[in-house]
């Protein structure tokens, strides 16, 4: 069985098509990097897998079933927002809010629930961290706590949306290594979206690259090539390998890096969701 299967899928958001006739299949227990420039549809695809967005055409299967909102087999780490509410609360409270958070009643956990939270925090080594208020954690620590949140409920599929944004290279590497070790330990499938391929090299099994409303899934060697990326960027792309790193270049410009810089500038404002 495939973990995520897109068959001839067309996705549209706000009247704009983001993906047209895409077909690909992510196998179970795969760690897949979801890449593509800003606005290429990474978040949109993850939302479709969560059942928050119905495809216009084609069909999506998640662990053998059509996507359904509230699917307990999926853990989700959304893209960070700068204006998060309740930052004064402890990390523990943030993670605990997820446990059966959709049920009516008081927000207090029983012993079973508290064990579940402790287990998720231990898995990512954030048990101590969780005592601090979220406002007093660094970007990398916060991503670790939010990864714990995604592990509550023992999901079989993890969707991590740009957990590397605004982290320095050192912390980026730590987050990638942590996600990979959790994936191997639990034997689950991970879709990990990012702007840039380099932090993910060596950790990912395959890459799903998005651009020009198309998608290409394959190994790094198959997908990160001049011809494939020229199609996905809609312009002539050269792929340069240097000291074990990969640079996606067009007319001397590093496409992935520039996309990132624009993105940061664009999202620096406090009111952007």
């Amino acid at each position: 069985m495939n973990a995520v299967e897109f068959s001839d899928v067309t996705l549209a958001v706000g009247g704009r098509t983001v993906l047209v006739g895409a077909s690909f299949a992510v196998r179970e227990r795969e760690f897949v990097g979801v890449l593509g420039p800003n606005g290429s549809g990474k978040t949109t695809i993850l939302r479709a897998v969560l059942g928050l967005l119905m495809p216009w055409r084609g069909s999506i299967r998640v662990l053998g079933r059509p996507p359904s909102r509230g699917d307990p087999t999926i853990g989700y780490l959304p893209q960070v927002r700068s204006n998060r509410a309740g930052m004064q609360l402890s990390g523990w409270d943030f993670v605990a809010a997820v446990h059966r958070g959709h049920r009516l009643g008081l927000p207090f956990l029983d012993a079973v629930g508290r064990r579940e939270i402790a287990r998720a925090l231990d898995r990512v080594g954030a048990a101590d961290l969780a005592r601090r208020p979220l406002a007093e954690t660094s970007g990398g620590e916060r991503q670790r706590l939010l990864l714990a949140q995604a592990l509550v409920g023992r999901p079989r599929l993890l969707l991590l949306d740009e957990p590397l944004i605004s982290l320095d290279p050192h912390h980026q590497a730590a987050v990638v290594a942590l996600a990979r070790s959790v994936q191997e330990e639990l034997g689950i499938t991970v879709l990990f979206s990012a702007h840039e391929i380099n932090p993910l090299l060596g950790a990912i099994d395959r890459v799903l690259y998005l651009g020009q409303r198309q998608a290409a899934l394959g190994t790094v060697e198959e997908v990160i090539t001049g011809p494939v990326l020229s199609r996905l960027y809609g312009m002539a792309i050269d792929v340069v390998h240097l000291h074990g790193r990969i640079f996606v270049m067009s007319e001397g410009q590093d496409m992935e890096r520039d996309a990132h810089r624009h993105y940061e500038a664009h999202h620096a404002g406090p009111s952007h969701a």
Partner: protein, 275 residues
Amino acid sequence: MPDHPMLEYGFMRHAFAAAGIVAVLGGLVGYFLVLRGQTFAGHALGHVGFTGATGAVLIGASPFSGLVVLSVLAGVGMGFLGERIAERDVAIGIVLALALGFGLLFLNFYTAFASEAVALLFGNVLAVDARTAFVLLALGLASLAGLAMISRPLLFASLQPEVAEAKGVSLRLYSVLFLGIVGLATAGCAEIVGVLLVFALMVGPAATAQRLTHHLGWGILLAPGLALAEAWLGITMAFYTNWPSSFWITSLSAVAYLVAVVLSGRRSAAPARSR
């Protein structure tokens, strides 16, 4: 306490009962308002409620019924508009000024109501009669039950809206339900401290609690506890000094918040922070 001379007066018993239930509700509602960054709602609904109260008098209804109906309607409306409204502070400010303006106009048509209008603006808990105290008790208990029922998904939706949405929680539904309860709490608080001072009873204790503890469980106990203490202490001081109870309640609220700011500032400045 039962033998205390204060409690020999019926109006004092009514004041303690009404203020007690309203303070507990206000403190809890306020905790979620502060958590969600929606404290302006407490302010805004009070203004709209004033227009409701004066408008109700104009059509021959009781001011309290107008206060309740319009603040709840405004809360529900705000919930439907959702995120979009949060970024429009100028528009909100203009609408609120307009609401107060209309309240004043209604008042102008019915000048006999002028002294009650002052009570509406600044509260007069010592004037709460048995019937009003009973109504507040019933409304307060119903609101508390409603809030208790939705508090878990509300917390989830407040802290991690995207994840909550993915897990099947309707953000809009809980926003509407919550702001409807905020409307009720605002009307209740307005009856105690007046529409202009709702902030002191609803947001003050909650903000103080969030300064004092990072733990949700303690915060949820501390916020209504502080609100209750400030309300009852305020009424007691009013009894002995003959100064307005709203003055004492707002002062206690401000002092408690200042103390919390100083205490939490000292804690976060301490070098050996717990890891």
